[in-house]
Amino acid sequence: MILLLKRICREPMGLLGLVLVVLISLSALLASVIAPHDPIALNIVDRLQGPSANYILGTDQLGRDLFSRVLYGGQVALKVALISIALALSIGVLLGMLAGFGPSWLDNLIMLFFDTIRSFPTVMFALATVALVGPSLSTVIVVIVITSIPNYGRVIRTQTLTIKNNEFIQAERVMGASLGRILWVHVLPNVMGPLMILASMDIPTVVALEAGLSFLGMGVKPPTPSWGSILNDGYTLIRNTPWPIIAGSLPLVLITLGFTFLGESLRDLIDPKLRKSL
């Protein structure tokens, strides 16, 4: 693990990605400590101000400090991303392994399930669900989980199919290992590698999806700060001040760059090693 981190730091892109990811994560985690102001406190007097010593990124139309809103918005973004990806991973991995390893009727059934979900365009599906159930953080999470499961499931299924007939799996079967043991101890550690990288590159996508939904007013409910809602405010205020837009888009850009760079260098580093050690 530490060796991996050291090797990431040797690549300029990887190092940049790592730094960005760490910065954003820390700032979100420590938002309550770092934020200079209460993100939802109204302060109409100070509305629509540019950046200053007091308000690092300026204020929005209700006088709320944009910097603090960005920091707390990070919490929302990362919470949605991590929870939904973790859930999607767990379910997707389980179904993928079962599809790859189990009998062909089970494989066909699970693939049918995956293909059905994938036939819905993600954003349409999200909008439809929100229209039915109403906007909230949990709705966003559920939508993202459901639409991500097939992607992870398919990758794991392919990986499982590849190693299913390897000799070490046969060896375990001859020794009498149960299906659960084979999947958990022998298949999972050998298929997770590429998936972790995929998942880390999905984080910016999920964050963008959440921001998009919030931008449309279908995501988190106001006054909870979200980068998307900041962007929405900025969109209406563009003639008055550019700062809300900058405040909303800057973290999105940084988080996308950060995770993408990190994920790419991880992939470059892990794949050849995987091949060598397997």
């Binding site: 390897n166 046969q170 060896a171 375990e172 001859v174 020794m175 009498g176 550690p189 050998n190």
Partner: protein, 323 residues
């Protein structure tokens, strides 16, 4: 001495076409026989070797004995119990009494587990966790001649010979009565092959374990085997006491195999029996004697009827014109 393993008329088939395709093409028997009508027995404490080339079905037969493939016909009796009709519980008990050594020494070891975990897998699988696993791991490593600190290593850090030994250690974990070894010297350097063979022989002498060895390397057979069978296209063509087979082989295929071994002597007389052509496809088995398409001594009747069995005490073969 009783027989630890008695195999009778075993047939192992695989589907060659899906049901729909077979229906459309009018194929009433969409199967290929990887193993067709094989019978033999292994005495307790003995080594039985199966010799065959690629496509002979030897690995399939070994896996059928181990319970990995279903035998479509025939019986496999282990200490009197038929493996082909065992229920799950009986199967688990059977699995504790046999073990398998795989052809690929490193590939048969789960890559993310340490050697110590790999060797003690059989204990964990069968829920025997109350044993002191560390002590067992040390004992097994010692048995195969590896130093105790090897338990921390990972498969990709092992040489071919070392990985082989780990495979042997794992095979010995639960004190099996029968070890099935698939190409035990494959991938090993010549100077190391002797080590593994010596190890297997020593273990047999000390622990009385029976062995069923599969190989295409005739050179090692003489040194470890009591009984030998030669396999071609899923059938036995010759079977008997190893010394008898080497001294007085009668089937043309056996003779060709024995003569195909180049000697490490540039001045050696080359008395080679050359085989024509290639191994026929399992989808189109030759009529009559299945070896006749390549047999250098093919004669009248070989392509018409199935060859008769000749069997006198230790020597069994099927041929129209044994040499």
């Amino acid at each position: 001495m009783s027989n630890i393993l008695e195999v009778a008329n075993v047939r192992v088939r695989f589907r060659s076409q899906g049901a729909l395709q077979a229906l459309v093409q009018g194929n009433s028997d969409p199967y290929i026989d990887a193993v067709r009508d094989v019978s033999f027995s292994v005495k307790e404490g003995e080594t039985f070797t199966l010799v065959g080339e690629s496509g002979s079905g030897k690995s399939t037969l070994a896996m059928a004995v181990a319970g990995l493939h279903k035998a479509a016909e025939g019986s496999i009796l282990f200490n009197g119990d038929d493996v082909t009709t065992m229920d799950d519980d009986a199967m688990q008990t059977y699995r504790k009494q046999i073990s398998f050594m795989w052809q690929n020494p490193v590939g048969s070891l789960s890559p993310r587990l340490s050697v110590g975990s790999l060797i003690t897998e059989p204990f964990k699988i069968h829920g025997l966790k109350q044993q002191d696993l560390r002590a067992e791991s040390d004992r097994l490593l010692k048995l195969v001649g590896l130093p105790a600190h090897f338990s921390e290593r990972y498969p990709h850090q092992l040489s071919g010979g070392q990985a082989r030994r780990v495979g042997v250690a794992r095979a010995l974990a639960l004190h099996p009565k029968l070890i099935i070894a698939d190409e035990p010297t494959a991938g090993l350097d010549v100077s190391v092959q002797g080590e593994i063979l010596n190890l297997l022989n020593r273990l047999q002498d000390e622990l009385g374990v029976s062995m069923f060895v599969i190989t295409h390397n005739l050179n090692i057979v003489r040194h470890i085997s009591d009984q030998t069978a030669i396999m071609y296209l899923g059938r036995f063509v010759e079977l008997g006491d190893t010394d008898a087979i080497f001294a007085q082989a009668k089937h043309p295929y056996t003779l060709a195999l024995l003569s195909a071994n180049p000697e490490a002597d540039p001045d050696a007389q080359i008395n080679r029996i050359e085989l024509k052509g290639e191994v026929p496809s399992l989808l189109m088995r030759p009529r009559g004697c299945e070896f006749h398409t390549r047999c250098p001594f093919v004669a009248e009747g070989c392509d018409q009827t199935f060859p008769p069995v000749h069997s006198d005490n230790q020597h069994w073969l099927t041929c129209h014109y044994p040499r």
